[in-house]
């Protein structure tokens, strides 16, 4: 997703200039993916969070060395894997026979060895959230559904979506926002974040 990489590079550049708030956005963007990745190495739910936090802190300290040759996420992924492995070694636990590939990391929750994390309640919760989001998307007006799917599923830029939908870029940004607002209203109570 070239667009995400571009926005990440911009955020990384801001962090390098001393704007820590930009790193906050990067953490918000990638925390769940990194949590899932670390969960493939570490079994304990609390330990997964601790190791992920440590990985983000290490990445922040090393950000000056990040040249942008790879995407920020790929670079962060490597740091997270190393941090998880070091954690296992420090605890005297056995390392996995093979590393989790960066491309497979996002689908880790279906094939992982998580035991403590992978409870039935948690599975149900995740499934429910995903189901609600898909249901809301199906009920959205066509123009909103198309706009949000082109963006989130196909990873097109606003310009590209504007070309596909034959509408102004401003309309694209408005449609994507309204689609997200509609979905958010439905999932907020599920996440216990009020409404």
């Amino acid at each position: 997703m070239a667009e995400n990489q571009d926005s990440d590079q911009e955020l990384v550049a801001r962090v390098k200039q001393g704007d820590k708030r930009a790193y906050d956005v990067l953490v918000i963007k990638y925390q769940h993916r990194i949590l899932g990745l670390v969960g493939g190495y570490v079994n304990d739910f609390q330990e997964v969070q601790d190791v992920t936090q440590e990985a983000f802190i290490k990445a922040y300290r090393a950000l000056e060395k990040f040249r942008g040759d790879s995407s920020f996420y790929t670079w962060l992924y490597r740091i997270a894997v190393n941090t998880a492995k070091n954690h296992l070694v420090s605890k005297g636990r056995r390392l996995p026979e093979s590393d989790i590939d960066v491309h497979d990391a996002d689908f880790l929750e279906t094939a992982t060895t998580l035991r403590v994390v992978d409870t039935p309640e948690r599975n149900l919760y995740c499934d429910e959230i995903e189901q609600v989001i898909h249901d809301v998307i199906q009920r959205l007006p066509d123009e909103l559904r198309t706009a949000v799917m082109l963006r989130e599923f196909d990873g097109l830029s606003y310009e590209e979506i504007a070309d596909v939908m034959d509408c102004p870029v401003g309309t694209v940004r408005s449609r994507i926002f309204r689609a997200r607002e509609a979905i958010d209203r439905e999932i907020r109570p599920l996440l216990g974040q009020g409404g």
């Binding site: 820590k20 930009a22 989130e152 401003g170 999932i187």
Partner: protein
């Protein structure tokens, strides 16, 4: 980003909605500089905006089928707090090491200044000793000047000699003994100039030389009387003395 003319009616939106829309656009990397700044500022201060950012991210994950077991976990605040703390600790450590360094420098400087002070005291001690000796000599010289009739004991004592040793100038010969005597009877003078000090030193040196010469002459004279071969050394000494 090039904007095509909007074909839809722009609905009236509140400031909050505008900020939320800016957040949506920023997460997609499509915002302009001003929008991004507002969003970064909002996320750092506004918990509601922060959690909304998390939910927007979750929507994207769900569309891609990537929602995992940590969907309701938010470690971002903890990460940022840890980074803040890390920087504070680093700053404190830097400051502390700086103080220790300057304290170490201070102790080195103190020990140096102590050494300098000790050196000064040692020098002052030497100067004081030298000054007291000089004062004693000067006082001795001053006391001896008004008494030219004082006789050198060495001259008076060998009364049995056939030819007593004649010292060239009695005034000069007296200085050495008078100087020594003055060391015991010295009256301290309040102010002594360097010229006086140098003069006293030269007088004392000359007196010592003359005394030594008198002893040598006496020894040669006695030797000459005992052994005729030694008359040459006596003659050499007297001729040197006359020069």
């Amino acid at each position: 980003m090039s904007e095509k003319a909007s074909s839809e009616k722009a609905p009236q939106i509140s400031g909050r909605e505008r900020l939320n829309e800016s957040l949506s656009v920023s997460l997609d990397g499509q915002s302009n500089e001003l929008e991004l700044r507002r969003v970064l500022d909002g996320i750092s201060k506004d918990d509601e905006l922060r959690t909304l950012a998390g939910r927007y991210q979750l929507i994207g994950d769900a569309v891609r089928g990537k929602v995992n077991k940590f969907a309701n976990v938010d470690i971002s605040k903890g990460v940022m707090a840890a980074i803040e703390q890390d920087e504070v600790d680093a700053a404190v450590a830097k400051e502390t090491s700086g103080s220790v360094h300057s304290a170490a420098n201070g102790s080195v400087a103190n020990s140096k200044s102590n050494n300098v002070i000790e050196g000064l005291w040692a020098s002052l001690g030497k100067v004081a000793m030298a000054a007291s000796v000089a004062v004693a000599i000067v006082v001795g010289v001053r006391n001896s000047n008004p008494a030219p009739d004082v006789q050198l004991m060495a001259v008076n004592e060998p009364a049995t000699l056939a030819q007593p040793v004649q010292l060239a100038q009695s005034g000069q010969n007296n200085y050495g003994v008078s100087g020594i005597r003055a060391g015991y009877n010295a009256k301290l003078h309040d102010s002594i100039t360097p010229e006086q000090l140098a003069y006293a030193q030269s007088i004392a040196d000359r007196a010592t030389r003359e005394r030594f010469h008198a002893y040598a002459l006496q020894h040669a004279e006695l030797s000459a009387m005992g052994n005729g071969q030694s008359i040459l050394s006596f003659a050499r000494l007297t001729s040197f003395d006359n020069q």
